[in-house]
């Protein structure tokens, strides 16, 4: 925990940021995908890296995060919007019937803040997530992980400017990733 006034300021931001993340989770679970998209900045970067099983001495490189590494997702808002549009077609067979998701967010911590050149407050936020997906009669998927978000002050609320999702599965144990994490 960061001591001093800076730490104090970050702790004071936390309840507000928790509310923001809970709202986001609820938008996804109630399938208000367009409202969810509106929470991302136009320059948003959304990435879910691959993870590998490596020896202890090489473990620093277990998540593949170099710019040219393959990920599960590595995209901007336009592609996220395309995903939402695909779900809305009603003929996206991986989401027709639709998934029922429950997004849990916990262990939220504001780990840094900064003010950009144009005076906008940004917050680095770490949290844990669990996405439970149920679909059809007996299809179940669970994706656990750690989120690193860069949130940008936007009026009274925030925008997600960068999100990185670190998951534990090196072999993804879901039929697909048609649901939004």
């Amino acid at each position: 925990m960061t001591a001093g006034p800076a730490g104090q300021a970050m702790r004071e931001l936390r309840p507000e940021i928790e509310d923001f993340l809970y709202l986001e989770a609820d938008l996804l679970d109630t399938r208000r995908f367009e409202e969810w998209l509106a929470l991302f900045s136009e320059d948003a970067h959304y990435r879910m890296p691959l993870v590998r099983n490596l020896a202890v001495k090489q473990i620093a490189g277990e998540h593949l995060t170099d710019p040219l590494d393959v990920s599960w997702f590595d995209e901007g808002k336009t592609t996220l919007a395309t995903r939402v549009a695909q779900i809305r077609t009603g003929v996206h067979w991986a989401e027709e019937p639709l998934s029922r998701t429950t997004h849990f967010v916990s262990n939220v911590r504001v780990v840094g803040t900064a003010v950009t050149a144009d005076g906008t407050l940004e917050a680095n936020v770490r949290s844990k997530f669990l996405v439970y997906r149920n679909r059809n009669s007996d299809e179940e998927d669970k994706v656990f992980g750690t989120r690193e978000d860069l949130l940008r002050r936007h009026g009274e609320s925030w925008l997600i400017a960068r999100r990185t999702l670190y998951i534990g599965q090196s072999v993804l144990l879901s039929n697909n990733l048609s649901f939004l994490i």
Binding site: R52, N53, A94, L172, N176, L177, S178
Partner: protein
């Protein structure tokens, strides 16, 4: 189960048991995965001496490694002492593969051992084994044959398997179109770092027979076509293709896919692509001009598909390799690799990487729907009643003809035909019957063998 009764080549049907039955699955591990040539990995995954990458051949874990003399080897990833999985990392670098159970140690270093994978260290060798353990006898099990084909590593457990290039046959011309540099140089491609691995509840053969040339994709991929992934911003999910794209299959070898009718290089159109990304578009335009210059006077071969049994590739959009590793009759572990020109600018690689990831893999907006359909089909074919009814592969049956321009291949002038699925299943049955390599390579006839039905045969039958 009588294999021959499961695939009716003449009538274009196949039993659902092939896709769900446990005993057939076990037989496949013996008859197909222990004998056929399998894709293991790419040389770029082990660039330096002592690098290793752990892959799969069927259900077996294997180590792809480069020795200190620069040679590549594929070894069974199981300690000879108690079978321990020797190497539990996906990749890394080690001079000695040391077992975590009792510390038997193996090496590929020619300075330490005569044969790659030999035992170099056994605790208690002098005191407890009295120096009598034959270290050469108890080395790691190597594959029977291995090749490096334009950077891709292939192996088989069968010492009698036909040479890889014979096994590939004319399909090799299409594999080249995926592996060769866009500017026409032989080879010159590499894979992006990171292999997407995921498990889907489907039989591995759904994927193999889908990528072998199931072109009725307008239904599966309707949603992605509606929202559009076209890198030039037009409709659909890829740039518009030149004409003359059709299904071609190799009835004697089991490979097949979709590709272009071969023609002189000068007659193959090379329109600009990737218009939404000017730098990438310019790169491809330069490469296309160079390709035409370099290959002037030659024949243009280009296609995508499945190499029997479980490797499928795509030569352009998206340029990828996928391997369908069997886990059980109803579960498959897919491994996807993404191909780029090794010396392309980073900005081009990045554009391609984005396009590939939005198209393919479990998060890919095209592949998701395939995975959904294969899983649903596997489940709904498993019931006792469902199993009684065969699948139908009669689309285009009896309309295929040999294609003079593509050695060993047949076609019917269409992309939409099920000839390739039937060709793949015919090959599956040949392996499953336990045919020897003379029979598999059609060097000797097999009594009662049913040939792949061609148009000439059906015309002869009807007296036309």
């Amino acid at each position: 189960m009588d294999i021959r009764s499961l695939v009716d080549v003449a009538n274009g049907t196949a039993s659902r048991e092939i896709f769900v039955d446990d005993s057939l699955y076990k037989q496949e591990m013996e008859q197909i995965f222990n004998r056929a040539w399998l894709f293991v990995g790419h040389e770029s995954q082990v660039p330096n001496p002592d690098d290793f990458y752990v892959s799969r051949m069927g259900e077996d874990s294997v180590i792809l490694t480069r020795d200190r003399q620069g040679k590549i080897h594929v070894l069974l990833n199981s300690c000879r002492h108690r079978g321990m999985k020797l190497c539990r990392h996906d990749q890394g670098n080690t001079r000695i593969f040391s077992c975590p159970y009792h510390a038997w140690g193996y090496s590929t270093d020619g300075n330490l051992v005569e044969r790659p994978g030999e035992l170099v260290g056994v605790p208690g060798y002098t005191k407890y084994y009295h120096g009598q353990l034959d270290k050469k006898e108890w080395g790691l099990v190597p594959v029977a044959q291995m090749v490096n084909y334009r950077g891709t590593i292939w192996a088989t457990w069968d010492p009698k398997a036909a040479p890889f290039e014979d096994y590939l046959g004319g399909m090799g011309l299409w594999l080249n179109s995926a592996l060769d540099h866009r500017d026409g140089r032989e080879g010159g491609s590499t894979i992006l770092v990171g292999v997407q691995k995921w498990r889907t509840d489907t039989n591995w053969k759904f994927a193999a027979t889908n990528f072998v040339g199931d072109a009725a994709h307008g239904i599966s991929h309707k949603s992605v076509n509606l929202v559009g992934l076209n890198p030039s911003g037009g409709i659909g999910r890829r740039d518009e293709r030149p004409s003359g794209h059709a299904a071609f299959g190799w009835p004697d070898l089991g490979h097949g896919g979709l590709g272009f009718l071969p023609r002189p290089e000068e007659d193959f159109p090379r329109p600009t692509i990737f218009h939404r990304y000017p730098e990438t578009s310019a790169y491809f335009a330069e490469c296309a001009a160079e390709h035409l210059k370099r290959r002037a006077g030659g024949t243009h071969y280009q296609g995508k598909g499945t190499i029997f049994p479980n490797m499928s590739f795509h030569e352009d959009q998206p340029r990828t390799i996928i391997v369908h590793h069997p886990i059980s009759p109803t579960q498959t572990e897919f491994w996807r690799y993404y191909l780029v020109d090794a010396d392309a600018p980073d900005s081009v690689k990045d554009t391609l990487r984005h396009y590939f990831m939005t198209y393919s893999g479990p998060g890919g907006m095209t592949e998701q729907d395939d995975l959904e359909n294969w899983a649903s089909a596997t489940k709904a074919s498993s019931g006792a009643a469902a199993r009684r009814y065969p699948y139908n592969y009669q689309q285009g049956l009896g309309f295929s003809e040999p294609c003079e321009q593509l050695p060993g291949a047949v076609w019917c002038g269409e992309t939409v035909t099920e000839q390739n699925q039937l060709i793949w299943l015919k090959r599956w049955a040949e392996f499953m019957e336990g045919r020897d390599w003379d029979q598999l390579m059609h060097r000797v006839p097999v009594p009662g063998d049913v040939p792949f039905p061609l148009k000439a045969d059906s015309l002869a039958e009807t007296g036309a």
